[in-house]
Symmetry: C2
Amino acid sequence: MSSTAGLDRRTRRRQETIEEILEVAIELMETEGVAALSLSAVARRLGMQPPSLYQYFPSKMAIYDALFQRGNELVRDAYRSAYAEAGTDDQLELNLIAATAFCRWCLEHQVYAQLLFWRTIPGFVPSPEAFAPAQESIQDLRDWLQATIDAGLLHPDAAGDEGIALYTSMTAGLLSQQLANEPDASFEDGRFIRLLPVVLEMFYQRYAPTRG
Amino acid sequence: MSSTAGLDRRTRRRQETIEEILEVAIELMETEGVAALSLSAVARRLGMQPPSLYQYFPSKMAIYDALFQRGNELVRDAYRSAYAEAGTDDQLELNLIAATAFCRWCLEHQVYAQLLFWRTIPGFVPSPEAFAPAQESIQDLRDWLQATIDAGLLHPDAAGDEGIALYTSMTAGLLSQQLANEPDASFEDGRFIRLLPVVLEMFYQRYAPTRG
DNA sequence: AGGAAAACCTAAGACCATTAGGGAAGTCAA
DNA sequence: TTGACTTCCCTAATGGTCTTAGGTTTTCCT
């Protein structure tokens, strides 16, 4: 027992350090810019020497990768809990609630959003593991659209490839414009992001159940 | 005359060097990534020492700024000539032609697109001069939408702030998704960008002239 | 041809990521 | 408790980055 307890303690401390590194990395990216992350600055803030970080991550890209995965998990958790806690059975309203939670999270975590959806870090390619939760999110969206179709509120094409591409493009477009042109606006006041209900409405119009 | 001719020659050579620097910078960004631009690499390819570049640009950010301005001018020229050369009077078709030219140019000049629409270079803020042509483009869009309204094909709200925000967000969304997820696809095959006529159609639906 | 200006250089400072290798501390088994 | 092993963190060093300072060479006009 004591042997595993010791091991646990060690791995727990290690895990804590890893968390700290990621946390500091996010903070620095918030002030300096996502692509301007400096391992030296991270080490400095942790009271370490830069090479010590290599005990925890094999490279700077590995830190980006860990954050990519974490961000995907966090945003997924965010919209899933919003969805789960919604007090309604209206599938259309549920979609809006989930989309709102998703976009709100992105605005409140712009560093993650940049990492996840723009992928502009030179040389960074997310690993399959890090990418997995993103595919989960796509599947969630597909499931919800399918549920909306099953409820007779959308045309079956809405959950097809074109529907998904349209849905993600329209929401990503609002986010993209908001982040690039008015990053400091709130979710409510943002000139672009406040159009989220509008674009969903447009999507519903295009995939109205009676269509075709 | 010879005095001004000599001066011209000198300034012309200088201008040529500036062009070369910008050209090489774009090429390097295409292969290495936009944020990974290295002045040393630019100098190397030009057969110069890095400090010599400071004769032409006061900083790396100034190069980004020049490219930001140039990109805005180039994309503006691209959609304007497509618009001018279109052999139709149908305002809706003209809009599609201009939007297509715009998006196609962005796909063919992804480095510029990243610089112009995502603005993820840490520390880079475009100067007012560099930003001016971008505002011109917004004005062009507004003018065209207004022309479409005047032709009785759109509701007056289409050229309002919400209309513009919607229009730019929807096209930017397609571009954003295409660039991030499928950057190598052609304009015709791109899973996202090929939906451009679809989103324009949705826009027309929302701002149908009979609405309200 | 002389003088000014532009173009380019070297040297240096202050950063950066990363590798190599060593020492100190914690942990485990005997 | 002691010896061994692992983890953690360090210093030193390599080779890269942007940028400034200051000097030299080339170009050009009078």
